[in-house]
């Protein structure tokens, strides 16, 4: 299975939720399950996110995609899958401050290659190799 490398950046204080690390380089499979289950990663394997809140249903257990062909429907790697991946693999605290349901929490600006993700189809944007995706929190007051 081919992989796609994407650069993820956090700003506006959001990096505090991700171990205070601003820039991450992540390799993900080009084809991912449609139900949002997270495939194992080769590049970075931080400890799973901790939260006092119950996990959302979409954030299911990590499952190996190589169990058998045709077991799950797949789709091209998109931003929605990336967000689930970030929450499961990189987030270190308070996931409710990053995601809400299937999308980012209101108040977080997402830039895909320096362009507002609203112009790119938001979570449905299909990630290409070398894309630069930025998550910036706007919730740090006046």
């Amino acid at each position: 299975m081919s992989t796609i490398t994407v650069k993820v950046e956090f700003g506006g204080g959001l990096e505090l939720l991700f171990g205070n690390k601003r820039v991450h380089s992540i390799s993900l499979p080009s084809s991912v399950p449609t139900d949002g289950t997270i495939a194992p990663s080769n590049s970075e394997t931080p400890p799973p996110a901790k939260s006092d809140d119950p996990p959302l249903p979409i954030n299911g257990p990590i499952r190996d995609l190589t169990n058998g062909p045709g077991e799950a429907k797949t789709k091209p790697l998109d931003v929605q899958y990336l967000m689930h991946y970030l929450r499961t693999r990189l987030l270190t605290e308070r996931p409710e401050l990053f995601m809400e349901g299937d999308t980012v929490r209101p108040g977080i600006l997402v830039l895909i290659n320096d362009t507002d993700w609203e112009l790119e189809g938001e979570g449905a944007y299909e990630i290409s190799d070398g894309d630069d995706i930025v998550f910036i929190s706007t919730l740090h007051g006046g």
Binding site: G12, G13, G107, D114, T115, L119, T138
Partner: protein, 517 residues
Amino acid sequence: MASCGNPIADDGALMPSRPKFDKGKYCIKCKLNLGNIVIRHAVYCRDCFIPLVTVKFRRALEPHVNANTGTSKRPKLKASGSLILGFSGGLGSAVLLDLVYKSYLAGHPPTDENGDPRGGINHPRNANVWTTCAVCYVEVSGAFPEAHDSTEEIRSTLASYANLEFILLRLEDAFDASWWCRVTGSSDMSQLALELGKDGLPTEGLILARSSNTLPPKDALRAFLTALPTSTAVSRAIQILIRLLLLFTAQSRGASHLLLGSSLTTLAVSLISCVAQGGGHAIREEFQEHWPPGSSSRIGLGGSVRVVRPLRDVTIKECTAFAWWNGIRVLGRPGLMRAIAGIPGLTKDFVVRLEKDYPSTVSTIARTCAKLEPKGVSVGECWFCRRHLQGGLADWKARISIRSHPDPKVAAQLTSPSPTLCSVPPEQAPQLPSLDTHLCYSCVTMFTSRSSRKLSSAPSLVHRLDTPLPRWVESKSTGVPSQEAVLVSDNGELWVRNQQSEGESRKSITDFLLPDH
């Protein structure tokens, strides 16, 4: 996506989501470049977006720079004093600082072909708008034992801006006599405290009393915040402390302008939150404020300070993109600390969600609130928040309030006159220095409201004495005769202490005075 059917049964049951921009993906301003950001359904490219924010900033600030507008359509900008910039390290203030610095402080005067300033360095064109600029930061970690002190991070953030003076204030300075002496020149070191009525209701008066023991500023701050009944009250109190620390500091330094980094979104939050907490009478001050109210300063130093929010037309999303594309450093906030809770926190969550789905509605909130006028007249200023005080407040509260209590014993005590007062003839009854008639409605609510979620238990009849108050709650400075009342009911005796004016003192000993000649 909005569902119009069962997506499990039918793959085509999901409606495609509507794009959040009106026209194409090209910038609506230059119509050449592909857009980079969507602002209220309009698409802008990065090259057009940056000047757009700068123009909004200048358009909101510059009409308020000169003391007199004059007749010129484009008057030369010249402030009557210095500039103080309120800086929290957050997004709005970081963007504001960058804009102010690049627009007014770091600019080089136009030069001629030799590289010399055109018209000479003393040409009026090359004079700065403000004589000096200082950045004032209020450290709030003193309010929360677990909070991290961010002073050094703030200092390092400001290091990239040359020629800026850094003023460090701490939230506990509001209770610090030395700070109060510095900013006002007052030599009164006494600490006033707040005594609630025996049921916590304001009907009997929020009584001012001299504190028997003077706490260190940080302990006084925590005692004050601990005595507040709700998290909403704590949030509001912190906001007021920060605001007045900035204002007193600005005034003591002769500043003509205090700039705050409230964006359109945070302004909408503060407007709704202000109304929700009963502060509707002072809603105009949330937009722009001339302080002190009425412009006649009792402080004695400096004149009035204009509080301007130059980012009031810039949404929080615009601020975020502007900060990101200009490399402006925004300090994050540790997860544990949340200075805004209660109504302000809930309002912020609501408005931020609203902005995501209906971005134009946020500006509608601000525009609608800008048209509001207070109904009644002002009768001075609130002793605590130092904003306009609505007239007839006590009568209105008396008309609408019904006092009842589930415990009949407590109810009987509440409805009957106080035993300490019954033991003395009416002419000897003390004149309690009631604070509630000098507080605005939202401040009275802040001190006395009870959380509706708490179980209603019988209130303690022990008075909560010695809740320290900020230094500016000073009866002498407000021109009202200073009075103190200490009720001691253990043996039925009543002790009343009054601070007399010089005239009253002279009158009481007039029989013993020798004639002047």
